[in-house]
Every structure is written in structure tokens, then in C-alpha cells.
Symmetry: C3
Subunit: 411 residues, 3 copies
């Protein structure tokens, strides 16, 4: 007996149980369901598989190395520093070929600053004074250039003056330049070498064209249409492609983002992985806002004169900062995401069926009829022992359409 | 005939097939299922839609540009370098307004080092010696300061000495400072300008308040409550908000992370996208560990004396490194993620039903009855030709409740 | 009546409705379905839960701080700069202990450049000329070293010469070194301190072994097997582990990526989170490509001679750039992803059942029979008023196996 029941259990494990369906010959809902099915199928095939390449395993953690090198020279002639020839080692800061670098395009020099006494700049609010009491001695001017001495320097008795400070004098001049001193920097070229690697797929590639023609790489100039694989860019073009004018930007500085995107379909092999460049201005949220845009920084050089006294040259440099940003992802066919995506697409069909059911059961004229068809009552009748049921008088206790004689061999 | 069957096939394609359900009038499982449904609904509405904004397409690849500018001066007076006024161009390293910068807060100077012979520092283990044989001539001291000459310099016959080296002498002093020389750096202010852009949504914004009032941006100071949109921060506050004391940290240096998070709900337009600042100490895994915390670096300046001999000034600078980290994501309503999330939420209902089925069919007292109701046997009887079945004597062969006469028009 | 129907509605809400299944006693499909179920179960348990730890909430936005410090000295003796001892403050650029740093391994010096007239380098194509007309005066040589004067300097009447320029003369020599001047840099050591933090879990850790033994951290050297927790690396080893030779790479420079991966299982606590190091060469897409690999940069030092005339020393430095890349993720048990993953795994079962249904209904010999069992017709008959149906003559109108007397109490 036990052996028998184990055998039947074992056999019943391999019975396939499939959901019972009711065919509702309602063409409206039928067509609706087919439309929903087609939409889901279209979504799976068109969006998940073709657009999003859902059959691929993807890798987003790209390893990237960027080395830059600028070329070009420019001659400047200012009253302070006389003739000077600027090479990449001067105007690229830092000059180490970094991913982020600034090209000096304009500068204001304040030579021969000495540590002595002078008036604070009127642009520093904390340096304003009306009497000597406003200048507390031996305190720093907040956001200023030196230490207050306690004297208030004024041009007239009723005017607002500025505190005298001990600091590097004279204070930096704030001259407004009409045109950038290194405006010719637009013709400088930058060579951008970007090597990427997708560790999961052990795939690496460089943006430099894999060519035997060494001279091509020395003389080409990137252009989206004619030279898309040349890694040499004219600075003026970079700014232009970002939607701005180089000379205008050179005056007060700015920040340009060079985006390199690698969207690699490794199923297509080595050629399915090419860099795509785009160029944006980073420092201005909107085009016409001048309050917050611009880029400048200061640097100093210290010297000692013949008497041993220290003096310094202060340079406020305006420049265009280039930020080479690399991102990318690679995809390669893999069975697991394929199955997952097919599976979850099919699971979506269930949601579609649920929606159609709602329409059928509650929004059709004959909903009551369909509900009766779909839902079969299984009222729990009193039972006599195990699985053997008493014939009941009342029909209500019985499940719909159930003939009890059929049940006995089953239960 | 063929036309007829095609027509009936075509019509049957638009028949809607809906799963047949058995109503188990079991209140326990019924309530359980409703609870499960409510939980899933709550999860979909509360978690997926309200908390995670599942109706939005999101973009996590933020493009960010950070420019910093420090203000403030401090006067130092050391025996080695006499009076010196430190401005941003001196104490900010690098001084180019980078995203990551260090502010020098303390330093040890070793002036006038010359390339000559002296004893290696006793802190370098490879420089320890007992006899001249321990100092192999013309080899570098590992992690040391020069080249061994072969002599062992000792104070007594039985003591451990250090090898004589050829290097920059005198060796750097390791003086423990009591208080930081630039302790007043706590009052310096840093202006952080962060412009972000979400390329997918073509949305860009800056953390600098879009105000006409130019003087506000010159004089405000960030405060979470009173000035949340002011981009100027006091260094002392930054360290304090990270849970540390500026003067303590200034002594041996450290690293502070300034996190700017942009969590943008672009459905709310421009105002739904504001920066949120937070501040942490980066260099110490735990607060009380002093072994591994701190931040210092060295730099040198080379000079030539009147005779043309080279000498140098070595500075070991302790500083606080600030790392402005920007991350963010933006979301905007999109129909595809909405459908996906609703669909997969509904698909979860299937799992809930599966669980309730298990309870109904195997854990209820009347499970046997429900199993009989739920599973309908479809034994495969012998058939006579297509779809026409012989009347069988045995009832067992027949599917439960099937009247064969009903079948014939169907198959 | 209304009260009664509300009551019955309220009761029916808590009726549990379960899908009716047809048991198809087809062992082939039964076994197929069990295999599919086992595969999905295996996928959920093996892949989603054990391999991908699907029961964990994960955090990928790691906050990382890297500080590096190099040790070691080397003595160079070149004809141009005579004896010089290089310490970390000289050969590490930048010397601030950054995440990305270059170690100078070789250099070419061009001392005493003066702003004067000389011939452009023959390697610059824009400087080539045959007659003076090729050298337009006062234009910059593209990618060159100075401003054309208008003269073409040639060695013979029929040769190609180069334009005379006004620039820093003499032009940099392009000497090919046989061996790197700082080849001993292979013995330098770098101490890498990396502190990470997962903000969501408020967990932070450092790669520096949390040991009391201070001297261990001073004298150990990283080795994958014997010292996996020592944060001190020999430069020569780093290059070797990346699959290259230090001396070969030192000659023309290169770029090495040091990857620190934190794959943290926070359910295992503090010890479940250890750094894993790996080393790759970043600058060469393929091993044998020499055209695009290498790393060098130039820097200048400006001087004034006794007469006040400016001159400069130009150094072209070859170096190995080290880029410490940190990434990581942390996972911790959370009920929501657990439920989602179980749920969507179960939802996948639906797709499995759909596939088995296709096999059963269209690929088995007795498919017609199973289709008849699975799909129950619910033709819409004419009804008399609400829910009460006329006995129809034709059997076709009736749903399969429905006895109308059963229906009346239901609808």
C-alpha cells in the first residue's frame, strides 16, 4: 500500500499541470489582448533587444588612461615682462600631459611686489573704513590681501577709505583687457591619446588610429566628417564645437569638456568599438550668464634682490581649462541576460492578461456571464471521512458542474 | 473546407482566452491573499513609485565642473624664513582652483641643504649599523636619504649607529610642533563653483545662487539653515561639520571630503534640482586612530650661491586636503519605466498567488478537497481517428465531468 | 436586499480564487517542466543568491581617499647637470602624494636656451622649406618651436632646409638614450594609503593593516601570497606584475594602473571587506605597439644671467605614471531585494510554463486532445433578463460541460 502510494506520488510528480483556460468568444477583448501582446512583443524585440541590446552582458566600469600633448608657440610683448615666447611648457598648466589641463590665454602681471605697507583694495568689503577705529590692528582683512595696521587711508574727510595693510604691495591691478594676450592660442593643437580597457571582457583599444602611416598622425586634424579618427584637435575648433567663440572665451577664461564616449558592441569585434567625441562648455549653466563663468588663477615667483630682500612677481592668469572625460560601456552576447529578458518580457504578458481580464469581467455588457465562466465555485461541503462525500440534497454546496462520482477516484 | 477552416482559425485567433479560476471559499487564505495583494500594492505604490520614483527615467552620468577659489591671508614668523605673508597663491597647492586642493596649515623647514656627507637619520632602519661592514659603499639606503659611503658613524663602541651617507645635508629635522603655524587658516574662505549637466535631459545648473545681488555672493557664508545656497565656506566650519577640530587637524594634516549631491526631480523643473552638501573626514577610518591619519608632503626650492654651488630649501608641509566630490542623478517621467514597473509589480502578484496556493493546497485541513477542485485530470483516452472518441466503459479514463458529446464540435 | 448584496460582496472579497489546472498525464512534458523548474530554481539559488548575492542591498558609490608616499634616492651624473641626488621631492611629480603621480625615470636636458635665432627642427613639417618664400615672416611654425623670420636655412642649393625661427635656442636635442638615467628607480617603494567609505552603510575601512606593530608597516613589502595586507610596493614589482619590464619601460616612459577593488560582504562584518590589488599597463592597447606608447613631459626653469638676460633650462622627462584606481561595492542583507529576487524568479516560472504549454499543445501527438482539455469554450448565449438563461436547443451555444441548473445560483 505504502509502496503503491509512493509510486503514484512519484508518477504524479511528472504529471504536467497546465492552467485551464476559458475561451471567451468576445472579439473586442480578443483583439485588445492581441494588441497588448503585440505591444509587449514589440517592446521586447524593438526596445529590449534591438535598442538596448538586452541579449548582451554589459560592462560599465571602463578603465581609461588619458595623455595629452599640446603644440604651438606664441610671442607676447607686454610692458612688464617684455618679449616672451610661450611654449607648451609655459602655457599648459600642469605641463605633465594630464587629463585636465588649462591653457593660459590671458594674464595680468603685478611685478616687484614687496612685503610692505599700502592701502587695501577698495573691492574688499572688510577693508572699508571711515575712521581708524574701523581698522583693528593686527587682524587679517577677511578675503583681503594683508594685515590691518590700524590706519584708515582716505582721500577726503567725508569719504569712505580703505584700511592700510601690511602685505605684498602694490596690490594687484584689476585691469580689464580688451583682447587676450595669447589670442593666437586658438591655433594650438592638442593630441589626445586615450587608451581604454574593459576588464570583464579583457578588451582594450586606443583612440589613436591603428595605422602604419606615421605621418598621418603628425599632420591630421580632427574633423567629425573628414577625419573622425584623427586624435589631434585645434583648440579654436574645440571651443567652436562647444558653441562658443575662442577669442571671447580667452579674455576671461572658461572651461571646456571634451567627452569621449565608447559605446562598444563587442559582438562586432574590434571595429564595433569606436570613440565618439562631443564638446560642451562646462562653466556656464546658461549661455548669457557672465557673473559666474570664467576661469582664472594666480601664481607667484619669488626672487631676492641684491640686498637679500624678498620680492615677487604675481601673475593672474586667465585660461581655458580642458577636461577630457571618458565614459563608455561594452556589451557582449551572454545567455543569462538573454533568458532573463525574454522571461521577464513574457512575465509582462501576465500583466497584460490581468488588464484584459478586468475589461472582460467588469466592463463588458455580458461581464456577469464571463465571471460565471471564469470563476468556478468550490464550496466546502461536509465530508464523510477522507475524500468520500455524502450526497447532499442542496445543489448549492456542490461545486459547479461537479459530479461527485467523478471525484472519488481522484481524491 | 480549407477556406472554412482558415476562417474559423482566423476567428479563433481573436477569441480571448482567460484562465479559469476556482473560488475556494476559504476565508483564511482569502484574507491572506488580500493581505499579500495589499503588501505588493503598497510596495509598488509606496516604494517603487513614491520613494524610488519608478515612473521616471533616470540619468546617473552627471557631468560636473568644479572651480574653487580661496581667500584669506596669514602672517608667519619663523626663525628660518623670517616674516612671511601667506596668500592663496602660496598656501593652496595646486593654486589653479582645482577640485582637489590642499591648504598648508603647518610646515617644517630645513634650509640650506647641500650635497655633502652626513649621518643617515636613525629612523631609517636600513641605515642602522654596528660596523663599517654594515654600510656597503655606493648603495642607496632603502627608504633613506642618500648613498652609503661605507663608514658607520657611532657615538660609542657598543652602540648602534647610522651609516654615513652622501646626500642633502643636514637631514630633515623631525620636530614635533605644538601648534600649527597657520592655525588662522580656519578663517580662510573657499568659494566652490560647481556646474553640473545631465546630458540625457539637456539640463544644466550651477550651485551658485542665480541672483542679481552680486554683493550677496561676495559676503555670504554657507550655513545649512540660514544660507543653504551660498557657495562660500569657512575652512574651520568645513572641518567642524565633518566632526573634527580644525586646530588639531591642522597640526598633522588630514583630508576632508566635501560631497555635493544633486538629486534632481526634473518633473518639478528648475527648482526641483538643488545641491545638498555633506562633509566627512576621509583619511581616518576610525576617529581615534592616529597611526595612519594625517597628510603631508615635501617640496624643495633650489638655489645657487655666489660660487655656483647648488643648495636647496626643503619644506615638509602639513596640510588639509579638500576633495570636492560631486555626484547626482536626475529623473524625469517616462512611459517605459512606468509600464515596466507596473508590469513587474503585477508579475509579483503571481508569486503571491503561488505562495497562497501552497498554503491552500498543503496546509489547510481540507487541502485534499481543494486539490481535487484545482487540478482537473485530463487522462489521455484512446481515440478513434481525429477528435472522435469511443464511448469508454471505464469512467476513470475520462476527464472529470466531461461529457464527450460536448467535445466533438470543439476539436 | 441592498444590505444583503453588500454583505455577500464583502464576503466574496475574501474568497480566495485560485487558477484551475488541468493535469495532463504526459510524462514527457511533465519531465520537461520539472527540468525547467529545476533550472530556474538553480538559477535563482546558484546565480542570483550565491554568485550575485541577490539577498543583499548593494552600494556602488564608494568614497575613496588615496594618499601616496614614495621613498628612495638615486644619484645621477650627466654632463649637463653634473652630480645630482634625486629624492622623492624631485622625481615624484606632483610631489603632493596624489592618487595619480609620475616617477621620472629618464630625462634629456637642454640647458641655457636663449630667446634668439636658429633653425627649426627638421622633425616639424611646417618648418620645411626650399626657398625663403616658404617661410612667411612673423608666422608661428605650426606645432613648432618659434616664429618664422622669413629666411630658409639650407645646407645645399637643391636640398630641403628648415626655416629660421626666433625662439628658445638651441632647439631641444632628440637623443635616443640607451639606458634610463634613473634605472635604479625600480627599487623605490611607494606607500599607498587608501581609505574607503560606503555612505549608505556608514562603513569605512583602510587598506593599511590595523596592526599595533608599527615597524611592520615600515619594513614590509607587498606580495600577493606572503604579505597581502602590506601597503608598501616596490616600483619594479608593480611594473613586473603588470607584465612588463621596468628598465624597458623606464627608457621611454609608460603608464601603470594599480587597481584596488573592494568587494565587501558586510554581512560578514569588518573582515568581509578586504582590498584586492591588480596591476595593468594603461598606455599600450597591445603589448608590441611602440608607436603610441610611452609617457613624457617637459618642464622649464627660468634664470637671469648677470646682465639681466633671461635664459632657461628645458628638461624633457620620461616617466612612469601610476594611476591608483579604486572601485568597489558593498552588500548587506535587506528584505526588499530578497523578496524582489524571489518574486521575479518565480515569475520566470510562468515563462517556463508558457514554453511547456507550447510543447504540450502544439508539438505532442495528442495536442488536439490537450487543447480541448485546456481551453473551455464559453460561448455567449442569449439571456433572459439577469442571469436567468433559456434552455437552448442547440448544444453548441453552451459552454462545454456546463449544466445550466448549476449556474443559476451563481450568477
Amino acid at each position: 500500500m505504502a509502496e503503491d502510494s509512493w509510486k503514484s506520488f512519484f508518477l504524479s510528480v511528472f504529471d504536467y499541470k497546465t492552467e485551464k483556460y476559458v475561451i471567451a468568444q468576445n472579439k473586442k477583448v480578443g483583439i485588445l489582448y492581441r494588441v497588448v501582446q503585440l505591444a509587449i512583443l514589440g517592446y521586447i524585440v524593438g526596445w529590449v533587444f534591438i535598442t538596448k541590446k538586452g541579449y548582451q552582458e554589459t560592462e560599465e566600469s571602463i578603465q581609461s588612461s588619458v595623455v595629452t600633448k599640446l603644440k604651438g608657440v606664441v610671442l607676447t610683448n607686454t610692458s612688464d615682462s617684455s618679449l616672451h615666447l610661450w611654449g607648451p611648457e609655459d602655457y599648459v598648466i600642469p605641463s605633465r600631459g594630464e587629463r585636465v589641463f588649462a591653457v593660459v590665454t590671458n594674464f595680468i602681471e603685478t611685478p616687484n611686489q614687496k612685503l610692505t605697507y599700502c592701502a587695501e583694495s577698495p573691492r574688499v568689503r572688510d577693508g572699508w573704513c571711515r575712521t581708524n577705529e574701523d581698522c583693528i590692528p593686527d587682524t587679517e582683512v577677511i578675503a583681503g590681501h594683508g594685515i590691518k595696521t590700524g590706519r584708515c587711508l582716505k582721500t577726503g574727510p567725508n569719504t569712505t577709505g580703505t584700511c592700510e595693510i601690511f602685505g605684498w604691495c602694490p596690490i594687484e591691478r584689476s585691469r580689464k583687457a580688451e583682447k587676450p594676450l595669447l589670442g593666437k592660442a586658438a591655433n594650438f593643437t592638442v593630441y589626445i591619446k586615450n587608451t581604454i580597457r574593459f576588464p570583464k571582457f579583457e578588451f582594450s583599444k586606443s583612440n589613436v588610429l591603428d595605422t602604419e602611416d606615421d605621418s598621418y598622425l603628425k599632420n591630421c586634424s580632427y574633423n567629425k566628417i573628414s577625419h573622425p579618427y584623427c586624435p589631434i584637435f585645434r583648440l579654436g575648433d574645440l571651443v567652436h564645437w562647444a558653441g562658443h567663440d575662442f577669442h571671447e572665451m580667452a579674455l576671461l577664461g572658461g572651461s571646456i569638456g571634451v567627452l569621449i564616449e565608447w559605446n562598444c558592441d563587442l559582438d562586432k569585434g574590434f571595429s564595433g568599438c569606436d570613440p565618439h567625441y562631443s564638446f560642451i562648455r562646462l562653466d556656464a549653466a546658461s549661455v548669457n550668464k557672465t557673473v559666474t563663468s570664467g576661469y582664472n588663477f594666480r601664481y607667484v615667483k619669488y626672487f631676492r634682490d641684491a640686498t637679500g630682500a624678498e620680492f615677487r612677481n604675481l601673475t593672474k592668469a586667465y585660461g581655458i581649462r580642458f577636461d577630457i572625460m571618458v565614459n563608455g560601456k561594452a556589451g557582449k552576447f551572454n545567455i543569462i541576460p538573454t533568458i532573463i529578458n525574454v522571461g521577464s518580457g513574457l512575465a509582462l504578458m501576465g500583466a497584460g492578461a490581468f488588464f484584459c481580464d478586468l475589461v472582460l469581467l467588469y466592463m463588458m455588457k455580458k461581464s456577469t456571464f464571463y465571471r460565471a465562466r471564469k470563476f468556478e465555485s468550490a464550496k466546502n461541503c461536509k465530508t464523510n471521512g477522507e475524500g468520500v462525500r455524502k450526497e447532499e440534497k442542496s445543489n448549492k454546496c456542490l461545486p459547479e458542474r461537479v459530479q461527485l462520482t467523478d471525484l472519488s477516484p481522484e481524491s
